[in-house]
Symmetry: C6
Subunit: 74 residues, 6 copies
């Protein structure tokens, strides 16, 4: 896997949130490397309420880590 | 995505809770950008007990982060 | 939404647990504002084992936050 | 609800684990007060693999809180 | 229940991981004391992808606690 | 089980993320030791949206631990 993350530091909470989204997506990528398969699955989960809530929960977990890493951008 | 969050600091636990709700919703928005689709899905999950519990769990996770960011409003 | 929480501080772990229950319920209220719908859904999830376990998990997550906010009532 | 918890402090990790089990059960009790209903539901979830795993996850979350409250019994 | 845990301290991360597995299993044992029932259920969940992922998530939660208890074996 | 982890320390967040993936996989391995069964199950969960999201959530939990262990690579 090429270098895709070198630091957890971000300037703002929004950039931190967007990094959490990338981390959540990478968790899927390492498990399902095929972009084609992921694109097909995305059509399913992005139109399923429970899947969307589950995906939001993964982002919340990563955001918790990124926020702590940035001392909550105080 | 336009700027929607610049700080995790809030004056009160209630404002912190409401920020956690926004963060949970943004997690869905970044995954499903269509407001129309989200409105349809909302009709489903807001009338499904397990979906509502799952959504409340995502808010709990973000609230944990926001509360720590505000030193629990001590 | 009227003021429903002004502090995370509670005198005892039990009061902290009961605050965690309120927080979990508010997570549902903000998502499904209709008390009537929530009453109907309550009949379903309060008689479903997995729903009850999931609800207990949300309370656990909030209790973790409230306990930390009260320095574990040491 | 009568007083059922006055402190998170326990002498040992095992006592802490058993307190986490009580906390997980109380989360269900506050949501489903009927002991009769809970007894019926227990027959279901205690014989369902996913329910048992979910219940173990709730205990893990409470144990995390109790362990931190006891400074990991160091 | 006989004494099965007296400390969260372990010499290595691997021993800590294996303690997390024991803790996750105990969470099931306290809820379903019958070894016979658990053996039957194990045949089901150890051959079900989602159950295995859920079980791995419980271990992750306990490992988080054990790792903090051991100051991450620094 | 042979030695597979001796430290939580990694040089970079990416190495830490990849360690989190190993930890998540080990959680499955200890529960289902058969590589053959796991390979069959992988075909199922790596093509199921909810399973992939659940797997990503387990990685997020381990990453939270590994990131804290490395003081967020500051």
């Amino acid at each position: 896997m090429e270098d895709w993350i070198t630091s957890l530091q971000t300037d703002t909470p929004q950039k931190g949130f967007e990094l959490a989204i990338v981390l959540a997506q990478k968790g899927v990528m390492y498990t399902q490397p095929s972009a084609e398969v992921r694109a097909e699955l995305r059509k399913v989960y992005s139109n399923n309420p429970n899947s969307l809530i589950m995906a939001s929960h993964v982002v919340a977990n990563y955001f918790q880590t990124v926020a702590a890493a940035n001392n909550y951008w105080k």
